[in-house]
Symmetry: C2
Subunit: 432 residues, 2 copies
């Protein structure tokens, strides 16, 4: 294929959910703008966006996280209810099953969220036992297995009401369609190899010594040629760590494998269609202790997707094709899952996959910052799907040189809050 | 060599300046403590500690950086003047040569430092021209080369007085000798391969699933066997990024190559022995614009060591044997250096070497934090030598479970300030 050179106002690297939302809002807010999205895969949302469980929640202690997720969820509702684009958005809730120890640990966090107006419902253990008859909400004092494993009775159910699930691929489809309508280009099967870094102004000196000139990124070099652009948006999730590392710019994020296992079966269906938590008559996205294994209900397919984030012991790595590990289900998930929910007894995954967390290990909020002609949006920390629309709006504001972004519903947001030197966020305390 | 297993209270990984100062203070404060320092090289201080230019300064805008450097410098003076251990410590000053643009940019920074009681002296351009007769303090308006390169006249000289130089190898020797005196072990030619990570308590379950247990580092595995310890201090500079990455713990630092070039010659000597700046009759450690090339005077050998930090365009990389690049001197340093100081005309380095910066790209202050049995001390950001003693004292306080460290001179320091979630530092604004 012949190498070509193209020029745009803005090139967005990555057609994942953050890149798409960014391109969409740049185009919406600035109709004349020439925007190209560069994507290495053959279609949009095939990277970590496709690997998400796509839970959405507004239950964050960081005000920034809360505002980003609430306004994004509102926008998704608008798309589904008013624009009539079905995103499979279902506000079935998130249900945290907490031991006495965890309930105590999260006590101030729960208080804080209530004060912040987050819609929460508390369930008592006896209520949960009735609604989930085959579960072990109360762990028997003679339960030797539980004792060895350190599992304790559930002392409280905490349900977030403005929470639920969405279909990642539908949200991708929505943004992609709108980008095309507005004349944006999405260049598939085009892998970014490097940034075009040039001094400004060019001095014509030997080797153009960047060390004492101002260097600026002027676009990207891909597998198909050069794409020059005034601004380059880096929306590559945790791949940004490697990409920016070549420039000597810190992404401020770390990549960690995230594994999902799909489960089905007769007992699974019983649990899935637990009544009383929501009008859909389905178990909410449920989290079980001690380390918060999450179970996402998929009503239409009658399955659960389960996973758990591991902290110490799981290396930071970015892989092109990360693989889910059978042993991880067998040893890290299954013993706890099947103990609290004997419905899962002997059930093995019928499908599994892995992506990455794009972790901000310091405060758990996203980063959106400018550096040398780049606009970097990363650090979604496992909650990118539920914040993507707001992130896209903030990227668009930064691209337009504005100090304030307008989020869905009209809320104003100071873009510098998500920057590096100017950062103003509270560390997220309600981490799954 | 037969594999052996040893046990200590504390194992310190790395016999660089931070590891040595840490081991020294742990032993001083806690005489019964069994401490081993593990070092891959054949002797102490052979990594990035050996590659430093070993300038020391107290000119920081961050209060934390200032306190760490001032108390460390005071301790080094105490060692040299009272303990009579010659560290080749010479307070010849740091001299920033600033263009009008840089002077303006640093205006508030200079004000701030004055208010903070940092001893500073300002020099006018005509004074500098007299003291440095062969230099181009004033750049001629007809100087085409300067115009192309964007070089401007020096508008101000800013001299930090409690600043100067030290011999890194002497400070290493001091700490090493004291560690041995106090019964500490330094295990050379022993490379750390991995951490011993174990669940606590051990459940005896298949694969000991760390994800829902508490995992703790219980020492290290080296090329010679296992060293178990209650606490493991990671003092490996920017190598910590790779080491901790295997555990999935963020080092919060990035490695970038740091190159030093040694210059000598007749013209060089003239400049070196410039009078008027200090009682030693030598040019201070001098920094020249636009991107602050630094020149360290070595009075006894009649040489300068020069270098410059590059920002965008220089990748983050950690190499076992980083190499200084001739081209970096030729294209990035020489044109500016020889323009301001024609003394360097046609002078090529007679020696060169490279190490790494251990960069905290967010606030430029060190990190000292605990995680899962580890105490990590990193992020010295190019100023480790001048803060090492204070860092060692803070590590020792953390090791002893104290909230406050006592720095040299009796100043109390809240150790949580350098932690991650509890961090309380001002971003450093006076970066070289």
């Amino acid at each position: 294929m012949a190498s070509r050179s193209e020029e745009y106002d803005v090139v967005v690297v990555g057609a994942g959910i953050v890149g798409l939302a960014s391109a969409y809002h740049i185009l919406s807010q600035n109709p004349g703008c020439q925007v190209a999205v560069v994507e290495k895969a053959a279609s949009a949302g095939q990277g970590d966006t496709a690997k998400t469980v796509a839970g959405i929640r507004n239950t964050f202690t960081s005000e920034v996280n809360r505002v980003l997720s609430e306004t994004s969820i509102d926008f998704y509702k608008h798309v589904q209810d008013e624009l009539k684009f079905d995103l499979h958005l279902e506000l079935v809730g998130y249900l945290w099953l907490l031991t006495a120890e965890l309930a105590k640990q999260f006590d101030s966090v729960i208080d804080r969220m209530k004060k912040d107006g987050i819609a929460l419902k508390l369930w008592q253990p006896d209520q949960l036992s009735k609604m989930l008859p085959r579960s072990r909400i109360a762990i028997d004092s003679g339960d030797e297995e539980a004792k060895i494993m350190g599992l304790n009775s559930i002392a409280m159910g905490l349900q977030g009401l403005k929470c639920g699930t969405i279909a990642a691929e539908k949200l991708v489809e929505f943004y992609e369609r709108e980008i095309r309508k507005m004349g944006g280009s999405i260049l598939y099967r085009e892998r970014m190899n490097s940034f075009i870094l040039e001094p400004r102004p060019k001095l014509g000196l030997p080797k153009e010594p960047l060390v004492w000139q101002n260097a600026k990124v002027e676009g990207v070099v891909t597998t198909r040629g050069r794409i020059r652009a005034e601004q380059t948006v880096v929306a590559t999730g945790c791949w940004s760590t490697d990409l920016l590392s070549h420039l000597g710019i810190d992404s401020h994020v770390r990549a960690k494998k995230r594994q999902v296992f799909a489960l089905k079966g007769a007992g699974v269906s019983d649990l899935l269609f637990s009544k009383g938590f929501n009008e859909q008559g389905v178990l909410p996205m449920t989290l079980i202790p001690p380390r918060l294994i999450y179970m996402k209900p998929n009503r239409s397919e009658g399955t659960f997707w389960v996973g758990v984030s591991d902290y110490v012991g799981r290396p930071f790595t970015f892989e092109e094709e990360p693989a889910a590990e059978d042993d991880f289900y067998t040893y890290d998930i299954y013993p706890v899952l099947s103990h609290y929910f004997p419905n899962f007894k002997d059930i093995r995954p019928f499908n599994k996959w892995a992506g990455h967390y794009d972790l901000n290990t310091i405060d758990g909020n996203p980063y959106i910052f400018e550096d040398s002609g780049l606009i970097v949006a990363d650090g979604t920390s496992g909650s990118g799907m539920m914040k993507a629309d707001a992130i896209g709006r903030i990227v668009a504001a930064v691209q337009a040189g504005k100090d304030m972004a307008t989020l869905y519903g009209g809320k104003h947001f100071k873009v510098a809050k998500l920057g590096v030197e100017t950062r103003q966020v509270e560390p997220e305390e309600f981490v799954i």
